[in-house]
Symmetry: C2
Subunit: 337 residues, 2 copies
Amino acid sequence: MATIYDVAKRANVSAMTVSRVINNGSSIKESTRLRVEKAIKELDYIPNRSAQSLISKDTKLLSLLITDVANPFFTSIARGAEDKAHEKGYQLVFSNSDENIEKETSYIRSAVSRGIDGMLLTPSGDFSIQNINILTKYKIPFVLVDRSLKGIESDIVHGDNSDGTKKLMDHLFENGHRTIGFVTGPSSISNVRERGDAYKQFIKDNKLPFNEKWTFQTDLARMQTLSYINLLLEASKEDRPTAILCSNNFLAADLVNNMNKMGLHVPDDISVVCFDDPHAIQMPNSFFTVVNQPAYKFGYTGMEMLIDRIEGKSGKEHKEIVYDTELIIRQSTKKIN
Amino acid sequence: MATIYDVAKRANVSAMTVSRVINNGSSIKESTRLRVEKAIKELDYIPNRSAQSLISKDTKLLSLLITDVANPFFTSIARGAEDKAHEKGYQLVFSNSDENIEKETSYIRSAVSRGIDGMLLTPSGDFSIQNINILTKYKIPFVLVDRSLKGIESDIVHGDNSDGTKKLMDHLFENGHRTIGFVTGPSSISNVRERGDAYKQFIKDNKLPFNEKWTFQTDLARMQTLSYINLLLEASKEDRPTAILCSNNFLAADLVNNMNKMGLHVPDDISVVCFDDPHAIQMPNSFFTVVNQPAYKFGYTGMEMLIDRIEGKSGKEHKEIVYDTELIIRQSTKKIN
DNA sequence: CTGTTAGCGCCTTCAG
DNA sequence: CTGAAGGCGCTAACAG
């Protein structure tokens, strides 16, 4: 709890000199610098950032707002973001919005209140625009990750949703699947829309049978895949999809967990594919055939863009970085006749 | 960027009155409160926490220092911790120490500098005591998670390492395994030691064959399991272990990934078990037989203890919470003759 | 190379 | 119920 004055007194200098030593500012006589450093060490003095921030208007605090760290996709983003932030001397406040707009609002408000220098976020949906407006009003730089916002111009990092979807559909198609179901999230989320559009496009382009019935939309936070499975179970084998495309990993895990409970086997009865690996680390015997996005890079590069913008190193135009996806074929899909 | 004075001016009151409204302090005439609230809204005024902290000495900022969020065990801890923090109106700064003492020191120093109200941490090892001393000196409450520190009295949450190890060993024993290898981390980590002790104890109690050779110790951040696998490969089938106990999930994943590359099959050639699930979420077709610890609860309860202590709701004595572990039998182990 | 003065935005204390 | 003065810990701006 020593203050700069305690150090000053002990080193027989003014507080200003101590301040200069701390921030290795302008020239200081070697002998006094040594004396000050000694006093700092002896008193275990650590500068008070709140006081510094009050003057400098910056905090070296960044906010990372994602929907759920427990989702390995976001876990990797968080890790990447923290790595870059640490490299650049920033700390990260992290929060989980759980796809909930009110939670998002409250987090953003308290982040602003904290005087964060910038924010890296995955908006919960298009309504998030009202939250983004708070950032804009307070002139707080932000970078979007994984999801864009209709009508909002900003720096953004995301994956190629259309191409990724196509890769998944191609894989299924090549393996003989024609009736392909789709389990997805709310259409207020940009990537959900993009994946959905690409799914429909593929069906159209390849003249596949289409039945609205096999498209199931649910909340990303409270998934209700059971009702979909019941639908599957009620249908005859000829009518029902032989494969299902899931918008994300959590949906896929939930779906397959439930299918197992209900006696539907993957991939023997139905193949399942999804976006994003459900594991944060490489696992032996992984199950899902997925299209993987470089989540770590999303976080790392997103954070880099953010810091560049904060430090005035980016131009006026906004940057968009789109990463390629990678198809990884594993055990959740199988070739049919 | 409106300040309390801007609001005051607009509402025709003094700054003090605005302050009272913000902190719903002592009685204020309804009409003036309304006027102030209107002004606040009109100006989009958000109080400056740095300024508040300078006076109040608290920040409602907590620090979560773990070794690596990407490890699902810590991911769950982080989620639990954030949930409780949010419930109680605190925000979380999170950092990854990567089992690195210097990184840990620097994170702790900057957390102190930020004026965090408390810290929830997994120390990287017994040397972390020097870092803990910084917290103690600055009277910052902290709670240890998963790892204790020799000679440090503090609140702590962890799993029952001895019993967990015993469950794993029992399972292997019941499945006919007698020569059981051990892949582990540095002994400066309390839970590594405890698991190692329990492993040796089990061998002793059951008069199993023991060969120092089959115990392999490596760095938890940069695992070197390949050399161990070479050892396995060089040995005759009669000599080498039929099962391996790994101190943690990452070690096990790395080991098995490498074994696969080198042509050793799990569980056909060798069974493998470990502490902690390698998945943050329930997965269909999970591979590892593990003893699972309630990581989410570690974070949630640990955070609760921390906040209780910060808010003066815990007694003088330190609390230790020990959670039971749960054996989950899956595909990485198999019965032998 | 070093010190003095003033003030960042807010709240505590004390008046009224 | 409301306001004025002062200061939290630090640094910018200006001396010297």
